[in-house]
Symmetry: C2
Subunit: 230 residues, 2 copies
Amino acid sequence: MKSIAVIGLGQFGYQVATTLAQKGFDVVALDTNMEIISEIKDIVSQAVMIDATDEKAMRSVNIDNVDKAIVAIGSNLQSSLLSAALLVRMNIEEIYVRAINALQENILRSMGINNIINIEKEMGIQITNTISAEGIGRYIEISDQHSLMEIKVPKSFAGKTLKDLDLRSKYKINIVGIKTNSPEVTDDGDIKYKLKMTVVPDPEYPLSSNDMLIVTGTDSNLNLFLSHGK
Amino acid sequence: MKSIAVIGLGQFGYQVATTLAQKGFDVVALDTNMEIISEIKDIVSQAVMIDATDEKAMRSVNIDNVDKAIVAIGSNLQSSLLSAALLVRMNIEEIYVRAINALQENILRSMGINNIINIEKEMGIQITNTISAEGIGRYIEISDQHSLMEIKVPKSFAGKTLKDLDLRSKYKINIVGIKTNSPEVTDDGDIKYKLKMTVVPDPEYPLSSNDMLIVTGTDSNLNLFLSHGK
Ligand SMILES: Nc1ncnc2c1ncn2[C@@H]1O[C@H](COP(=O)(O)OP(=O)(O)OP(=O)(O)O)[C@@H](O)[C@H]1O
Ligand SMILES: Nc1ncnc2c1ncn2[C@@H]1O[C@H](COP(=O)(O)OP(=O)(O)OP(=O)(O)O)[C@@H](O)[C@H]1O
């Protein structure tokens, strides 16, 4: 299992470290703050209270042996850049660095670092998809002209099958999955609705108006489909 | 066109405001910082230097008439919560609020606000997909067991068609699109490669080892497919 060093355990770094640990990675979490280190030490493989800009200290805990490293420090630009420079000197194979502005990004690129994450910028763009989507559950941009959307089954489709509807040739869109709300009887005889998802939809399944269709296509074809469905 | 008020133009808020403006929304951008307001005024419909917790000032610029509002203030929790409370009082139809920790999230929910965005937490989770994916271009979680991935066409598939390969029945995955690198001749006679994408792939098209397949399926079926392709 690959080992990953996560440097800086603020809101972002802490989430990265714990999620990677959950995914089975061998995580080494580093921070100057003792409280955070004690909080995270039972969740990751190793939690070290250390200044990530201190080369002697970093080498003494063998950070140069990790497969990947991510500098998750945010507003402390100086620490972020110094720590990144140190990782480059240590020849770590894959280095990810968080940047909080364009200047920092440029400096990192000039250091030869290309895996740069600007979380405010990326989430700023992503959230506009959610804000602009109406009656649409989830909306992801596959590329700047293609998207993946979750939409409620239009009333006119209820009871029909995907085979009948033939959406691919009519609207040039692809049905990637169907989320159904299927009733299940619990031990006490209650009926509870459980959300199930299939990603290889059955073309003979009669759609219910409670279902969600997961569709992909160009933005213009998806918009056409959305307006026709009403 | 829907009008959206964006409150707080830090790194995140500024990106939200400008991206929404690009998408054709009628954006009203608000911040106490005059420099940011002068910087953004030619990009959005309206840029107002204002304290978003000041009810009298907010009503005087008719914020109560917008269709949607997003509080993009980050570390200033007090301003964020007071501004959110004001938007609720003004009965704005759709309110999105950024939260930087769980306590703030709980307070917002108790105020009846459900569209809560924790950017550090969401990006922290998302980035782990990029870090853990190898030889995989793009990786999105459709649900906690299903994903969408971009993968390089395995060598064993080159020259074969999707029809021959019959991936849907063999691996229970769905091919949602193909990205091809197609050569185009420029005006000066050079050959340049242009990335093209189709989301309704031609089943008779012979795959090239330069292409990328965009696939969806359960995580376990996708992993099986990935290991077989090698
Ligand atoms: N030189 C350093 N060595 C180790 N850890 C550091 C160093 N500098 C900062 N940190 C740690 O990085 C974490 C994030 O710090 P910082 O204040 O820069 O980011 P932030 O912008 O608040 O982060 P987030 O937005 O993720 O909450 C803190 O826990 C801090 O203790
Ligand atoms: N009461 C307020 N009214 C209007 N604008 C405000 C108010 N309080 C803060 N802001 C503005 O919100 C913006 C973001 O502020 P803040 O410092 O809280 O966030 P941040 O965590 O640095 O944001 P980001 O991570 O997006 O850069 C700033 O431009 C600030 O001027």
